[in-house]
Amino acid sequence: MHFDLDAGQRELQSALTRFCHDLFPVAVARESGEKGLDRGLWRRLADLGVFALALPDSDGGAGLTVVEQVLAFEVLGAGLVPGPVVGSTLAAGLVEGASTGDVVVASVTATDGPVLVPGLRDADWLLVLHDDRVELVEAAGIQGDLVSRPLDPTTPLTRLDSLPAGEVLLLGAASDALCRTASLLTSAALLGIARRTTELATDYAKTREQYGRTIGSFQAIKHMLADMLALGEVASASVHAAGVMLADTSAEAERAVAGARVLAGKAALHNAATNVQVHGGMGFTWELDAHVYLKRARLLSVSHGNVDAAAETVATQLRGALQ
């Protein structure tokens, strides 16, 4: 057992963090929401190999596993990187041009009735994840209405009356595996938000002064920050463990992936909200990015699963393990 990042995995995270810092400041995400995805930047993200991490070398990938994908999505989540990164990663190897960034692929988990699809406005294809299969639909043929005021200002939403049928790409175990990966990569992005908002709130608490001292010297603030740190720490253990179990096709992977959503969803929502609170009046402004982390967390927390359904899955798995 060696349950910690190895040197290569640390390097992957730090290289991607530098890249996001340089090319995807939050202003880019905010502009992308209004004006559309910058395809040039998208290709540079693809050039870095983000979408192709788990593809074999022979297909132009890095030959890595879902563990490295999880670590990458933690960074993408922390950086609020715009665009349907989960869909395009899932589509790498399934949809021509997805891994190289030449086409953009959005994704959605199927539900009955009307559905809101994130990122469809900027996408060429849509992956639809059903209970038993994965389908691919060409975006141009989909009838839908663009939502004029999406909650997350960095992510466009398209409202569809129902999901169109498409070409069946995967069935059975391969379809199940893709759905779990979709859920876990989304949880990894939530984890990234949980950790980034802890850093932002801590930095602010160290510089903001009231009553003649930095607010981070007040125990009321300190304890909020300590809770944020602990939530992120425990959630990261959960998300990383789920990655390892999914890569190992462990029998406990379903419980672990669902558990990761419970932990990462809770940590991201709590920490993003606390970050707004710690920033006080400025946190309540449109100008500051604090609300963007919170709104992205809200979007991700109901993308490819949600915390309540995940908790039910863990409970069902718990009962199954007892019988």
Binding site: M1, H240, V314, T316
Partner: protein, 395 residues
């Protein structure tokens, strides 16, 4: 990053499992915990079996009579013990978890030779004389006074929360030897034989209705200077060595036990009615069961990461304090959930006919021990904020 057993670890696990399958069913049934001496005899029996099988002092170095297991083997040991429903360490806790490792790290050769064998084979029981009525979270504020008189210290004062004091042979005792020095610099660590004249132990009944703790009154108790561990007035540093063991894996066995509690609660929720149907059919109950199980799974994963990061011995502060803080919170929520599932069956501290509920009701009260003992949740938050996040100290 990986979680699988290596070949050697798998072999260790397999042998341990075979041994546990044989030995656990052969144990006598545990006595009423209120009978302190019967509990001590039971704990000694269990420790002796581990000793004979070569598992005593699992993580202690071989040179000091331990097994010298790797940190990973230590975790496998704890995991398999929980899986086999083996007894917990009981009154051996202080000796095996605190006093022994402290003597290994800081004790003299004679002290080690005298005390380590009895801790390992279970024949000697230790208690901890650290906290005082006026020194809880602020442990360094302790006032029990030790005055040098030739080859002896004369000790007078009062200790509190001394678990197992009623049945202990020795006490790891912190005393003030220099009242003039700054509070951290006038403390000394002593080995106190509990048979010494001048000691009075009074049982202290907890909110669980059990005398798990005691108050220990010391009235001019004479302790040989040879019983000092470390230098005079260097006891704070020695105590921190002791506590660093406590913040490592001390709560892992009961965290694993909590997972068993959740599993049992899930079973009970299918049998107990809540409103019109079984509690399990209530989505709110199911979700909370799933949430708590997921959080305990996460704490187990965090433990594995802490152990990996602390291969050299000490668990990093961020991992250790996060574990303790989060675990205490989960235990409180598990307690609340237990009481919701049990409904009226949660109003008794004993098992009902055909319904084993007492462990859940006791568990809901035990949660307070987790959030108060060994660094309260508020102290853990200060540690994380000041020592990990680098926020300014209060004063």
């Amino acid at each position: 990053m990986e979680l699988k057993d290596s070949e050697a670890d798998a072999q260790f696990r397999k042998e341990l499992r075979v041994w546990l399958a044989e030995v656990v069913p052969s144990l006598p049934s545990p006595p009423d915990p209120r009978d302190r001496w019967a509990s001590r005899r039971f704990d000694e029996t269990w420790q002796r079996l581990q000793y004979d099988a070569g598992y005593a002092g699992i993580a202690w170095p071989k040179a000091h009579g331990g097994r010298g297991a790797t940190p990973t083997e230590h975790l496998i040991f704890l995991e398999e013990l929980a899986r086999a429903d083996a007894p917990d360490v009981g009154c051996g806790f202080v000796g095996q978890g605190h006093a022994g490792p402290t003597l290994i790290a800081e004790g003299g050769d004679e002290q080690r030779a005298e005390h380590l064998p009895g801790i390992l084979d279970g024949t000697k029981v230790w208690c901890q004389g650290f906290s005082e009525p006026g020194a809880g979270s602020d442990l360094a504020g302790l006032r029990t006074r030790a005055v040098r008189d030739g080859d002896e210290y004369v000790v007078t004062g009062q200790k509190i929360w001394t678990s197992f004091a009623q049945v202990a042979d020795y006490c790891e005792l912190l005393v003030r030897t220099d009242p003039e020095a700054p509070k951290h610099k006038g403390i000394t660590w002593l080995i106190l034989p509990m048979s010494s004249p001048g000691i009075e132990v009074r049982e202290l009944v907890t909110l669980q209705g059990e005398a798990e703790f005691a108050e220990t009154y010391l009235d001019e108790v004479r302790v040989p200077v040879a019983n000092r561990v470390g230098a005079e007035n260097d006891g704070w540093r020695v105590a921190m060595v002791t506590l660093s063991f406590e913040r490592g894996t001390a709560f892992v066995p009961e965290m694993l036990e909590s997972l068993r509690l959740v599993e049992d609660l899930a079973r009970l929720s299918e049998r107990l009615r809540r409103g019109r149907g079984p509690a399990w059919e209530d989505a709110g109950i199911r979700r909370e069961l799933g949430t708590v199980a997921a959080e305990l799974d996460a704490l187990w994963a965090l433990t594995k990461r802490n152990v990996t990061r602390g291969e050299s011995g000490t668990v990093p502060i961020v991992g250790g304090s996060s574990f303790k803080l989060y675990y205490a919170d989960v235990r409180h929520r598990l307690g609340d959930l237990s009481m919701r599932v049990l409904d009226q069956a949660g109003l008794v501290l004993e098992d009902l006919p055909d319904l084993t509920v007492a462990r859940h009701v006791e568990g809901s009260l035990h949660a307070f021990a987790v959030s108060i003992a060994a660094g309260s949740s508020q102290v853990q938050r200060n540690i994380l904020a000041e020592r990990v996040l680098g926020l300014p100290k209060e004063r």
